[in-house]
Symmetry: C2
Subunit: 187 residues, 2 copies
DNA sequence: GGTGGTTTTTGACAATTGTCAAAAAATATC
DNA sequence: GATATTTTTTGACAATTGTCAAAAACCACC
């Protein structure tokens, strides 16, 4: 729980009351590698904060497994479109390692948004942060070569490269694992 | 101004007080085609709501002009990372048509966020909407072919295709204009 | 230490898309 | 309406990345 509030503090200072309210809705979760946090084509009910472990957001496109997002310690994991729209989405989330998480349920969070202005603000800042991250990854995909994208990932999230299998990293980068393997072999 | 509040109403219902406060900070703007709304490598100070016209968010990557985003009537235009982080960003915004806009200044908006809980909520919902849109475009770029991306654009924003030059559409889709021209010629 | 399974690498080849140059078409200007 | 300018299309070819198949490396487990 400490790590969660440390991450929150990087965005803004919350009132003690709001912190208390937030801690009351944080659900501690512990699951083994391979556990499915969010089923594909279901509504994502939680935002997850990762205390320890690694998650993968994925879906199938033309029969092929696509890794949409990866999250490790002190990051959030969420099937964003589904969580925000309350509609099912093809994206599922599974664990790539045994993990300890904090879950924030949509309804609970919504209640706190209504009740506490500063929690609503925190929500805005968290979504803003997600938007910035996605924009950066979008830029990378927009006009960078496979090798450049791999380089960027090494600079920003080397931990993913060390901890996730090659095929998943490749898909995350929008390339095949054969191409990634060849990029690697050329230093 | 009516169109702005109509767009806002799609997200949530604001109090009359907040609407009044918002309308007091909305700056009417009118510029000719080619006008630069946000200079490259500067801090974006406004979110723009487009009453009429077409904007393009762009930057240079390895000497090449990249179109990052397009916005038309009833959409917002903003150099998101710069606006949110208060840092300069390579992205600039220019007008592709004579346009009528409403500008919301960062400081003004921030003041209303602090003052009115429901405006803060609106901010959260607007950013959430932006995140969803970006995620959808990200998905498209992630593992769709050039032809599929063009198809998606025709289905979601045909107006861009009709109103922006080919080179800009191609760049928006992450391909060269020659490739787009060839996709077009095959129906 | 062998066995089975998974992950990664390599090879040969194909498909997609990019590059550069020039022609054609569309649009603006006088 | 002719000329200049910009935009779009086409052609030839190159580069990048994908596909499929097989080999090699790695790992877990008995």
């Amino acid at each position: 729980m400490e790590s969660f509030f440390k991450a929150v503090a990087a965005f803004m200072q919350l009132s003690e009351e709001s912190k208390l309210a937030l801690s009351s809705i944080l659900k501690p979760l512990e699951f083994p590698k391979g556990h499915v946090l969010v089923r594909q084509d279901s509504v994502c009910q939680y935002v997850y904060f990762i205390e320890k472990g690694l998650t993968r957001t994925f879906y199938y496109k033309d029969g092929k497994d696509v890794t949409d997002w990866l999250s490790a310690e002190n990051m959030f994991a969420c099937s964003i479109i589904s969580f925000l729209t309350r509609q099912p989405d093809r994206r599922g989330i599974e664990l790539l390692e045994d993990s300890c998480l904090w879950g924030l349920h949509y309804e609970d969070l919504e209640r706190l948004y209504r009740q506490y202005h500063d929690v609503e603000r925190l929500g805005r800042l968290l979504v803003s942060s997600g938007l910035i991250q996605l924009q950066q990854r979008f830029d990378d995909l927009h006009f960078a070569t496979a090798a450049q994208r791999y380089q960027t990932l090494m600079e920003t999230n080397a931990t993913f490269i060390q901890r996730a299998p090659l095929g998943i990293i490749a898909s995350y980068l929008g390339i095949t694992q054969e191409t990634l393997s060849r990029i690697r072999s050329q230093h």
